[in-house]
């Protein structure tokens, strides 16, 4: 494909024809703020925070949608650009709750990032603010439409990735709002609680219920892993605070991208459930009683050994697990064949 040459902030760059100014800037590691833009979704270019100055053009142009042209000269941080961005932020903050104090997205919020970056302390336009009720009636997602900046990413994520069309823009003007059909709650809609809309929301309007009430964004360590449920093998980040898994967030998964299903995203609670087994148990007089590891392991070895001795190796059998790791299944096969001396090993994959 043909290359197009342009100049951004006095630096030269060549990108394939059809690229946007934003993509060209990213190639130069020049930062341009975005709110409604997402590389995986369609581009409405509606938030205007990504505007840049193009020499010779009367108006500022949205860099996420404007395509590069040969010889273009672009400024991403000129005074008019900064002025425009500040105005947009001021407008957004004028109808935004001052709630970072306890907001679950504090520390990982684009509105906050840009307000800090451009030094916009608060909205100055005054006027009416929304006072929508918090939607908190399901165990997965909390929706606070007062914090919504109407970027529409959730709408596009639900439609274009999740293929559900659960949420959409409703009403008009000041009353414009993101809502399921008939403005019901998610739990009364077709929502499958994949939480993929939450994963793309740039602010605290959509939050993971469990995660955001148990940890602040800067307190968690993220550990990338693979989902323990179905065979798709989605990747995600376990969010860990004080040695406990407090939630799951999307990462750039190889199989799944940022998309997860309700089990992968919200099904982590079993890890620290009080029902977890914490000590070996040995049955005495028909009742399982706590025992030490040494006692338990020695008993297993002695009894399995005795059965092998008395009836031969094929009196032993082993069920491996479709839930355990490869390494563990391998070792169990090794134990069965090399130590027990039988091929009686299978697992429940047939189910």
């Amino acid at each position: 494909m043909a290359e197009v040459n342009l100049i951004i902030n006095d630096q030269k760059v060549a990108v394939p024809e059809g690229s946007t100014i934003l993509e060209a800037a990213q190639k130069l590691n020049i930062f341009i703020p975005t709110l409604c833009y997402d590389p995986e979704l369609s581009r409405p270019a509606s938030c205007r925070i990504c505007v840049v100055e193009v020499k010779g053009s009367k108006n500022l142009v949205p860099s996420c949608a404007a395509l590069v042209r040969e010889g273009m000269v672009v400024y991403t941080d000129s005074p008019p650009v900064i002025e425009a961005r500040k105005t947009i932020l001021d407008l957004l903050l004028s109808n935004h709750p001052e709630d970072c104090l306890t907001c679950g997205r504090n520390g990982d919020c684009r509105l906050q990032d840009y307000a800090y970056l451009y030094g916009v302390r608060r909205g100055t336009f005054g006027g009416e603010k929304h006072s929508y009720a918090l939607e908190d009636d399901n165990p997965f997602i909390v929706r606070d439409m007062n914090k919504c900046i109407l970027c529409g990413k959730c709408v596009r994520m639900c439609a274009e990735v999740q293929g559900k069309n659960v949420v959409d823009f409703a009403y008009r003007g000041f009353h414009t709002k993101i809502a399921p059909a008939m403005d019901t709650t998610l739990s009364q809609s077709d929502c499958v609680f994949c939480g993929n809309c939450v994963a793309v929301c740039p602010v605290g309007a959509l939050q993971e219920k469990g995660l955001r009430k148990s940890a602040r964004t800067w307190e968690v360590k993220k550990v990338r892993t693979t989902c323990p449920y179905c065979g798709t093998g989605c990747n995600f980040d376990l969010n860990v605070k004080d040695g406990k898994v407090v939630g799951v967030t999307s990462c750039a998964g190889e199989v799944n991208g940022r998309a997860l299903c309700v089990k992968g995203r919200f099904g982590y609670g079993f890890i620290h459930h009080p029902d977890r087994l914490t000590r070996p148990l040995i049955k005495k007089d028909g009742v399982l009683k706590e025992a030490s590891w040494e006692e338990a392991i020695n008993l297993v070895a002695a009894r399995m050994g005795a059965i092998k001795e008395k009836y031969g190796p094929d009196a032993l059998s082993v069920l491996a697990s479709a839930r355990c790791t490869n390494e563990e299944n391998y070792l169990l096969s090794k134990l069965t064949r090399a130590v027990f001396g039988t091929n009686n090993i299978d697992h429940c994959a047939r189910l």
Partner: protein, 527 residues
Amino acid sequence: MTNPISDIAGADFILAIGTNTTESHPIISLQVKKAVRNGATLVVVDPRKTEIAGLAHYHLPIKSGSDIALLNSLAHVIIAEELWNKEFVASRTEDFDAFKETVARYTPEYAEKITSVAAQTIREVARGYAGAKNATILYTMGVTQHICGTHNVFAIANLAMLCGQVGKPHSGVNPLRGQNNVQGACDMGALPNVLTGYQSVAADEVRAKFAAAWGVKELPARPGLTVGEMMEAAEHGKVKGMYIMGENPVLSDPDAGHVVRALEKLEFLVVQDIFLTETARLADVVLPAASFAEKDGTFTNTERRVQRVRKAVEPVGEARADWEIICAVARAMGYPMNYSTPAEIMAEIARLTPSYGGISYERLEKGGLVWPCPVLDHPGTPVLHVGKFARGLGKFHPVEYVPPAEQPDEQFPLVLSTGRRHFHYHTGTMTLRTGALEVYYPEEYLEVNPADACVLNLENWEKVRVVSRRGEVEVRVCITDRVPAGLVFTSFHFPEVAINKLTNPVRDAIAKIPELKVCAVRIEKIA
């Protein structure tokens, strides 16, 4: 799967057989939906009106257990109308003539009688599949959990070969695995007849290689017992000791009553798990294992991608990783089994397993690897059978339709089918303890068609007794046309509705998969 998940979105034609993809494999279903948005034709073969069936251009509400009749009939049309890929069949397959002869009898009109799918629909679907540039077939337990499960899979493979829809992108024969590491457990030789990478225990050189690596004189040559056979052997006193790691057969296996009887007859049962499952309660020793978040390791997904599992937190209480427990047991039995990390175990696996030969933790840090990956600089093999089948020529296996083992009759007039729900997983040990999923979806129900409900005089959400020849459970009724008349459906996620007390343990003769998708039941009102 012969092809990667990401391939699905690029297919022109998708034949989804017996897969409730949106609920059981939600993320894979996103690829299907994407393909449909891009203009692909979607055909869903499922007795139930699932969400994915709602998106389909053709929904074939086939009679449970009649898949072979349908698949053979599709092949019949394709051959009769000369739509098959002659070049592919000639150069890459064998035994075509036998196959052609078998399917000759399966005219769409004949198949209509067995499957209750209209002959005209069969014709249209056949033409669509054969005419597509890239057509993919997806299937799951809806195909395999039948007495003829293996034959069903043969019938699918026959169709794909007939049209040359394998060995190239966006096509293939793609079983979607239900559990996170079914693929890996099989790859690792957790099967009675093979060692890692499907190396046969019957082959002398294979056994010699493993015996040398494992430091033992010899390894057993005779293939062992499958799960079902183990349970039978236990009941008959032939198997005396059993070691179960991370499985809950009491709830997941058919005819649960029989499983409990078998396990109770054992002289010694060890269960290693993260919860005190229904199976663990029967054990003599229960060993507390670490969960996936508490250990390092790898899972292999349904597209054969080996991916890292990483330790995020310490195990609860005194729980230990399964691999550590196994090592301790081996040592206590006088066998030196010592590894300091799972990475070391993977290195050993790679040395002994050609298809995993190039896999190492160091490489996995950079991302997953799709086997076959024989050597360290091999990029992995997302698409199988390109240019050549693993065995050389693709073999047509002619198969005939056989009806399900248990047919509805006067005493048990309804067919019960089981499956999964979107909000839950397997026997519910994990998903019923999340503080979220079970809150939203707290109780299981039985789907019953309005016509049947009317005959039986059932009310929505009424609690009923479901009875089969093997057992009974109580469950609430949900009256819905998601199921056709004559069929009822529920899941096996909830211990309170231990539906496998009812199911039929009769197994497919080859793969030994039980017929969980069809058993005859009746519904009784609870006075």
